[in-house]
């Protein structure tokens, strides 16, 4: 058995990386989702809209720009799935979870910053996504994903 491993080292390495990628990736993903859900439930009272806010005279004490961003990367196993997907087309399920996590995390960080500075709501939310990293935009390579969420946090003149 060991003979086969030594005869085809690149194949064995490939399989080993796949297994490591899969296990660590799944664990990291589950942990991240738990953390996201917990923080979302805590911050759900902080209102976020993507409309422009219209406020009455004197209703607002102060307002400032807040943003939150994340850069997330996928594990080896998921990258392989995405590449194989390219043959058959269809939904790239491996990447859906990644983007979802990245985006929710970015929004949460923005909310946390607003909450820390005492804001009551966030208006005019915008979301941006891009690929960065050394391997982004190169042929047949997959980079990491950066998500940015930004908006105007408003502190109301509450009595």
């Amino acid at each position: 058995m060991l003979e086969i491993i030594f005869r085809y080292p690149d194949l064995s390495l490939f399989l080993a990386l796949m297994v490591i990628g899969y296990t660590c990736g799944t664990i990291a993903e589950k942990r991240h989702y738990k953390s996201i859900i917990k923080r979302e439930q805590e911050l759900v009272k902080l209102m976020v809209v993507n409309a422009e806010g219209r406020f009455a005279e004197g209703a607002v004490r102060t307002s400032f720009l807040v943003n939150g961003s994340t850069v997330v990367s996928n594990d080896y196993f998921k990258r392989l799935l995405a590449i194989l997907r390219n043959v058959f087309g269809g939904r790239v399920k491996a990447y859906e979870s990644l983007i979802d996590r990245a985006r929710r995390e970015a929004i949460l960080r923005m909310k946390e910053e607003a909450r820390a500075r005492g804001a009551h709501m966030i208006v005019n939310l915008r979301l941006e996504t891009s690929t960065i990293g050394r391997s982004a935009n190169k042929k047949n390579r997959i980079g990491s994903i950066e998500t940015l969420a930004y908006g105007t946090a408003v502190v109301m003149n509450r009595p």
């Binding site: 809209v49 993507n50 995405a82 790239v92 990447y95 929004i107 979301l127 690929t131």
Partner: protein, 115 residues
């Protein structure tokens, strides 16, 4: 009268302005988002390669992106329905390429209830 978006038997109003023209917003629920990542397959790739020679519309890709946009909107409307809203205002779309040969379609807006 705003046209309704029918999906799963529900009628959801979608607009990309800050209100539903002609209706009053009574309740709002926050941000809803829908996204999907789609890859092209080899057949479309080869046709696109050919079109690079002769020029013209890449119908395969147009259809692909249209389907993806539809799915992203469906997912966003589903979130709004779960929250109890019947309209989504201020819809914005974003497209980005996240992996070789795959594009992410993303739609987000504010879920509201109008009367």
């Amino acid at each position: 009268m705003a046209s309704n978006y029918l999906f799963k038997g529900f009628s959801m109003i979608l607009t990309n302005v800050g209100s539903v023209p002609g209706k009053k917003i009574v309740e709002h629920f926050g941000i809803v988002q829908g996204s999907t990542v789609r890859a092209k397959h080899l057949g479309r790739d080869m046709m696109a390669g050919l079109k690079n020679l002769v020029g013209g519309e890449l119908k395969g890709y147009t259809e692909l992106l249209q389907e993806s946009r539809q799915e992203a909107m469906d997912r966003m409307a589903e979130q709004a329905r779960q929250l109890g809203g019947n309209a989504v205002i201020n819809i914005r779309f974003a497209t980005s390429s996240v992996a070789q040969g795959a594009a992410e379609l993303f739609a987000y807006g504010t879920a509201v209830r109008v009367e």
